[in-house]
C-alpha cells in the first residue's frame, strides 16, 4: 500500500529480490579462472549487500524520490546567500559532450587543447570581472577556495619571514566557514562587531589589527545584505597594519559588473561559481571555488593553472613554474565539469550580461524589500539599500504572536515557495535572509510577498496553523533530537 503513496517511497533495499538486477548493463559472466590470480586471503568472503533491482524499478524509484524535492526548476528558491538562480540547460548540455566527459585527467596536453582553451579563457574572464591579477580554478567549493585563500595569506607572510602573523579577523556576521577555515589553516580567529547600520566598526578594527594580523575575511556586500560603505578605509587600516584582505565571494552576484573586489583593495578572493556563475547546486554540490589574487600573491596560487605558451599552445603550469605554490588541493584539477558549465554561462552572458546580473538581482531584492515593508514586515536595516539580498526580522511576531521565523519558513513551503535562509546571520534575531536573484519575474516576487502577508494574517488569527506547518509536504516537521540520539544512518534488514 505504501508504495502507492505519492509522498512516501520505500528505501530501495526494500524492493530487492535475490537474483534480480539490471542484467543488461552487466558485463558477461566470466569463469572463476579469470580472477584466479587474486589470492584467497585478500578476497571478499561474501557479496556486498547492494540492492538487487531491475532497471525499471531503479528508474521509478529515483524518479519518485526526485518528486519529493523542491528545486529551482520547480519552485522559487529565495535562499539568502545561496544565489539560487536559473541554471541554463545549455550549460549542462554542452559540458556533457562525449569528448569532454571521456577526457582522462592525466591525458596529454595534445589531446586537451579544446578543454584547456576553455579553462584558460575562464581564468581570464574571472580576472576581468573581479579585477584580480591571477586566478586558479582547482578549489572544489567555496569553503575549499577559502582554505586556499587563507593558506596563501599564510604562505605570503612566511615567505617574508613574518612568522608572527597568525590572526584572522572575521566580522561577527560572517559565514561559519570563515572561522572554520582559519582554524583549518592553523590560524587564530578574532571576531569584531558591526555597527547598527551594518558597517564594520572602524575603531574596533583599528584596535584589533597589529603585528599578529595575518588578514581579515570580508564579504561585501556583507552577510547582512548591505554594502560595506567604508571598504576603502577598511583596506587602508588592514594594509597599514601589515595584514591582507580576503574577499569571500558568496555575494559576488550583487555587484557583478558594477564594482570589483580587486578595485576595493582585496588581495585574495574566492568565487562561488555555483552561485554567481550559475552552475548547479546538485543537492549540495559539486561546487567550484576558484580563487583570484593580487600580483603579490600570484606566486602562491594553488596548482594546477592553465598557461598559454608562445606557440599558442595551452599547457598546465606546475611546481616548476610556481615553486612557491601552496600546493595541490585535489588529485587532478578540481571540478572540471563544473568549471566548463561556468565557462559556458559566462560566454553566453558576455560583458553586457555580466552587469545585468548585478543590476537585476539588486532590483529584485529592493523591490521585494519595499513591498514587504509596505506589507508591515520589519527590515533589519531599514535605512539601507538592499544589495542582492536583504534581511527581515520577525522578532515582533515572535514576541507578540509566538510565531517564529522558522514557522514562517515552514508555512512558506505550503505555499509552494522554498524557505529563505533562516536564523543566519546569527546576530539578527528571528531573521529571514531573502535573495530572489535576477532570473525571477515580478509575478513570482509578488506572489511570494502575498504569501508572506497571508501567513502574517494567519499568524494573527490562527497561529497554530503556522506553528504546526508544513501541512502539505511529504513529511511534517521532523524529530531532529531523535535523529541525533537514536542514530539510524544506514538501512538494515528487519529481522
Amino acid at each position: 500500500m505504501r508504495a502507492q503513496d505519492k509522498d512516501h517511497e520505500k528505501v530501495i533495499f526494500e524492493y530487492s529480490h535475490p537474483g534480480r538486477g539490471a542484467t543488461d548493463q552487466w558485463p558477461q559472466e566470466l569463469p572463476d579462472s579469470a580472477t584466479a590470480d587474486l589470492p584467497q586471503k585478500l578476497r571478499r568472503s561474501r557479496r556486498a549487500q547492494l540492492p538487487e533491482v531491475s532497471e525499471l524499478e531503479t528508474v521509478r524509484h529515483f524518479t519518485r524520490l526526485s518528486h519529493l524535492n523542491f528545486s529551482i526548476d520547480t519552485h522559487f528558491y529565495p535562499l539568502g546567500s545561496c544565489t539560487m538562480k536559473y541554471n541554463p540547460k545549455a550549460c549542462n548540455q554542452y559540458a556533457m559532450l562525449p569528448e569532454l566527459l571521456g577526457r582522462h585527467p592525466l591525458g596529454p596536453e595534445s589531446h586537451g587543447q579544446g578543454f584547456l582553451a576553455c579553462m584558460y579563457e575562464l581564468q581570464e574572464m574571472l580576472k576581468e570581472v573581479t579585477g584580480m591579477q591571477g586566478v586558479a580554478l582547482s578549489p572544489m567549493a567555496g569553503a575549499h577556495g577559502e582554505f586556499a585563500g587563507v593558506a596563501m595569506i599564510r604562505a605570503y607572510h612566511r615567505s617574508r619571514g613574518d612568522l608572527a602573523r597568525n590572526e584572522i579577523i572575521v566580522p561577527e556576521a560572517a559565514h561559519g566557514t570563515n572561522p572554520a577555515t582559519a582554524t583549518m589553516c592553523g590560524c587564530v580567529v578574532r571576531e569584531i562587531p558591526v555597527n547598527e547600520e551594518g558597517d564594520i566598526d572602524l575603531e574596533t578594527l583599528k584596535a584589533a589589527v597589529g603585528p599578529n594580523t595575518a588578514g581579515i575575511m570580508l564579504t561585501n556586500p556583507s552577510t547582512l545584505g548591505v554594502f560595506e560603505r567604508r571598504i576603502e578605509e577598511v583596506a587602508r587600516i588592514v594594509h597599514a597594519a601589515g595584514g591582507l584582505l580576503y574577499y569571500d565571494g558568496a555575494n559576488l552576484n550583487a555587484i557583478l559588473g558594477k564594482v570589483r573586489p580587486g578595485d576595493m583593495g582585496f588581495d585574495v578572493i574566492h568565487m562561488n561559481l555555483h552561485k554567481t556563475f550559475s552552475t548547479p547546486h546538485g543537492g549540495g554540490g559539486p561546487g567550484a571555488g576558484a580563487v583570484g589574487v593580487s600580483a603579490r600573491l600570484r606566486p602562491f596560487l594553488p596548482l594546477p593553472i592553465v598557461g598559454l605558451d608562445e606557440g599558442n599552445r595551452y599547457r598546465w603550469l606546475t611546481e616548476k613554474d610556481l615553486p612557491q605554490s601552496i600546493g595541490r588541493l585535489s588529485a587532478f584539477m578540481g571540478n572540471a565539469g563544473v568549471l566548463l558549465r561556468a565557462y559556458i554561462y559566462m560566454r553566453m552572458l558576455g560583458r553586457e550580461g555580466m552587469s545585468q546580473v548585478g543590476e537585476y538581482a539588486t532590483l529584485n531584492a529592493n523591490y521585494m524589500l519595499s513591498r514587504l515593508k509596505s506589507a508591515g514586515f520589519d527590515a533589519a536595516y531599514p535605512s539601507r539599500r538592499a544589495s542582492h539580498e536583504f534581511i527581515i526580522t520577525l522578532k515582533r511576531q515572535a514576541r507578540e504572536l509566538d510565531v517564529t521565523a522558522m514557522d514562517f519558513a515552514k508555512r512558506l513551503l505550503d505555499h509552494g515557495f522554498h524557505a529563505p535562509t533562516t536564523y543566519f546571520p546569527l546576530l539578527v534575531p528571528e531573521c529571514l535572509l531573502i535573495e530572489p536573484t535576477e532570473t525571477e519575474s515580478k509575478d513570482i516576487l509578488d506572489a511570494f510577498v502575498n504569501a508572506m502577508a497571508q501567513i502574517q494574517q494567519e499568524a494573527e488569527q490562527e497561529p497554530e496553523r503556522v506553528t504546526s506547518a508544513p501541512h502539505t509536504m511529504p513529511v511534517r516537521r521532523l524529530d531532529d533530537v531523535r535523529a541525533a540520539k537514536q542514530l539510524d544512518l544506514r538501512w538494515k534488514p528487519t529481522a
Binding site: 548493463q25 586471503k41 528508474v59 524520490l65 592525466l106 582554505f147 543537492g283 588529485a331 537585476y360
Partner: protein, 460 residues
C-alpha cells in the same frame, strides 16, 4: 543573454514601488570611485546556437583517444539511466537539504548511498561524501588526530605506494595544522609496503598508517599484516580503496586477523558511474566505526520520524559542522558532492552485488590480457611480481615519454609515465584496463606500440 525575464513595464513599476528613478540609483551606496568602467576582457555574449557550435569544436579538438590510463580515474561503462535521472532538475537544481520537508528526495537518496557505501567497505557508518579521494585522505588524517586518543604526535605514515597525488593533497591540506606525513619505502621486487620496514617506528608515537589497496602500482598489499601491525602499536588504520575492487576484494572493515578492521575508510567514488571529465567533479567517500562518528567531517543523513510518527530523513549530528561550531568545527567543509552521490547511488542500484562483481572481474581479466600482450613485445616486462588488480607497472628498455607521444599521435593513451614520481623504477609505465576495453583495443595498442618502438629505432 542573462536569462532575465523583466519587461520594460515591469522595471518601471518596480522602480516606482521602490521610489527610485533608475536601477543605477540602487547602487548609490557604493563609492563612485569604485564603479566598474568597462569589462572589455569579457567577450560579447553568444546565443545558445553559437555556444553549442563553439563547444562542439573544442570537444572535437580533444578527440576520443583509446585510453589505457588509470592512476585514480577509471573509464567504466555508465548506464544511460544514471545521468538521465541525475540531471533531472529536481536533483540537479536543488540545494543542500537544510529544509528537510522540501528535500526528502535528496535526503533519502543520501541515506541509501550511506547504506551502500557502508556495506561495500564493511564499516558501520558513512558520511554524505567529501570533495574527492585525495581530499578525503587529508580529512581522514585530521579525523584520526581527533579520534585516536592514544596518540598525541600528529605523525601519519603514508607509504610511497599510496598515490603521490593523494599524498601531496594531504600535505597541502593537513600540513597547515601541523600534521607530518612520513614516507615509508616499498619493496623493489613486489611493489608492496613490507611490515618489516615499519618496525623502526615501534615504540614511537604514530597517529595513523595509510594503506592503499590496490596500491598506486595496482599491486595488492598484505592488508591483514599491515593492519595487525598498526593496531598492535596503537596506530589508526586509514584504508584508501577503489570501490569497484571491493566487489572482489576483502572490505577494509574485515582487514586484519583480530576482527577490528580499518578505523577510517576513504577513496574516490569516481568508478561508480562518474565520467572521467578531466578529473572532476568526482566524490570522496568516507566510512568509519560508530564510535568515531562524532569525529567524522561532512554531512550525515539520519532517519527519524515526523510529528505524525511517519518516517522521514534529515541532516543530523550537525553539532560537528562549521555553521554551528564555527572555529571549532571538525572541518570547514559545507557541501558534499551531492550530484555525484546521486549518480553513484543509481549506478550501485543498477549494478547490484553481481553486476559490480562482474565489472571488477571483467576489468581485471582485461588488464591481464593487456599485460600479457604488452610483455610479449621485446623490451617490455612487468616491474613487480605478485598479485595486482586491473592496473600494473611495466618497464621499458628506453624512456617512456617519446613512446607515449608516438602512441598519442596514433590515437592511443598508453598509460602514465612514472619516471618523474618514481625515478628509481627506471623507464616505468602504469597501465590500466577496464571492462570497456576489447581484445581488439588491446591489439591496436600493441600494434601501435610496435610502430612507435620501430620509428624510435629508425630515428636513432
Amino acid at each position: 543573454m542573462a536569462f532575465i525575464p523583466h519587461t520594460p513595464a515591469d522595471v518601471e513599476a518596480m522602480l516606482a514601488t521602490i521610489g527610485v528613478s533608475s536601477i543605477e540609483q540602487l547602487f548609490d551606496e557604493i563609492p563612485a570611485s569604485l564603479r566598474v568602467k568597462s569589462l572589455d576582457g569579457v567577450p560579447v555574449g553568444l546565443n545558445e546556437m553559437q555556444i553549442g557550435r563553439l563547444m562542439s569544436e573544442r570537444a572535437r579538438a580533444d578527440g576520443r583517444p583509446l585510453c589505457f590510463i588509470g592512476a585514480g580515474a577509471y573509464e567504466h561503462h555508465i548506464p544511460s539511466a544514471v545521468w538521465a535521472i541525475t540531471t533531472r532538475g529536481e536533483f540537479y537544481s536543488a540545494y543542500t537539504p537544510y529544509q528537510a520537508e522540501a528535500s526528502q528526495g535528496t535526503l533519502q537518496l543520501i541515506y541509501e548511498y550511506q547504506s551502500m557505501i557502508a556495506n561495500l567497505t564493511g564499516m558501520d557508518v558513512s558520511n554524505a561524501s567529501l570533495y574527492d579521494g585525495a581530499s578525503a585522505v587529508a580529512e581522514a588524517s585530521l579525523m584520526a588526530v581527533r579520534a585516536n586518543r592514544k596518540s598525541k604526535s600528529l605523525r601519519v605514515l603514508i607509504p610511497r605506494t599510496v598515490s603521490p597525488m593523494y599524498r601531496r593533497v594531504a600535505i597541502a591540506t593537513a600540513g597547515n595544522q601541523g600534521l607530518r606525513f612520513e614516507d615509508v619505502a616499498y619493496s623493489p621486487d613486489s611493489g608492496l609496503t613490507p611490515v618489516e620496514v615499519l618496525k623502526k617506528y615501534e615504540g614511537e608515537d604514530i597517529t595513523a598508517l595509510v594503506i592503499q589497496q590496490p596500491n598506486f602500482f595496482g599491486q595488492l598489499e598484505d592488508v591483514d599484516a599491515l593492519t595487525d601491525w598498526a593496531h598492535a602499536h596503537g596506530i589508526f588504520v586509514i584504508a584508501v580503496v577503489n570501490p569497484t575492487s571491493l566487489a572482489l576484494l576483502k572490505p577494509p572493515g574485515e582487514w586484519g586477523t583480530t576482527g577490528k578492521g580499518a578505523d577510517i575508510v576513504v577513496g574516490d567514488g569516481q568508478p561508480l558511474g562518474v565520467p572521467l571529465s578531466s578529473g572532476g567533479p568526482y566524490f570522496g567517500f568516507m566510512t568509519t566505526r560508530t564510535e568515531y562518528v562524532r569525529q567524522m567531517p561532512g554531512r550525515i543523513v539520519g532517519r527519524t520520524v515526523d510529528l505524525n510518527g511517519r518516517e522521514g530523513f534529515t541532516l543530523t549530528l550537525q553539532a560537528r559542522e562549521q555553521h554551528i561550531r564555527r572555529a571549532k568545527a571538525t572541518s570547514n567543509i559545507c557541501t558534499n558532492q551531492g550530484l555525484l552521490v546521486t549518480a553513484a547511488t543509481i549506478y550501485m542500484s543498477l549494478m547490484g552485488p553481481v553486476g559490480l562483481e562482474r565489472t571488477a572481474a571483467a576489468s581485471h581479466a582485461r588488464a591481464n590480457d593487456l599485460l600479457m600482450a604488452l610483455t610479449s613485445v621485446k623490451g617490455v616486462r612487468r616491474a613487480f611480481t605478485g598479485p595486482f588488480f586491473h592496473e600494473a607497472v611495466v618497464l621499458f628498455d628506453r624512456p617512456v615519454a617519446p613512446i607515449l607521444t608516438s602512441l598519442a599521435n596514433r590515437g592511443i593513451l598508453g598509460g602514465l609515465d612514472l619516471s618523474e614520481a618514481f625515478p628509481e623504477l627506471g623507464y616505468a609505465l602504469l597501465v590500466c584496463a577496464t571492462e570497456t576495453k576489447t581484445l581488439s583495443d588491446i591489439n591496436s595498442y600493441v600494434t601501435a606500440l610496435g610502430e612507435a618502438l620501430q620509428s624510435a629505432v629508425r630515428a636513432a
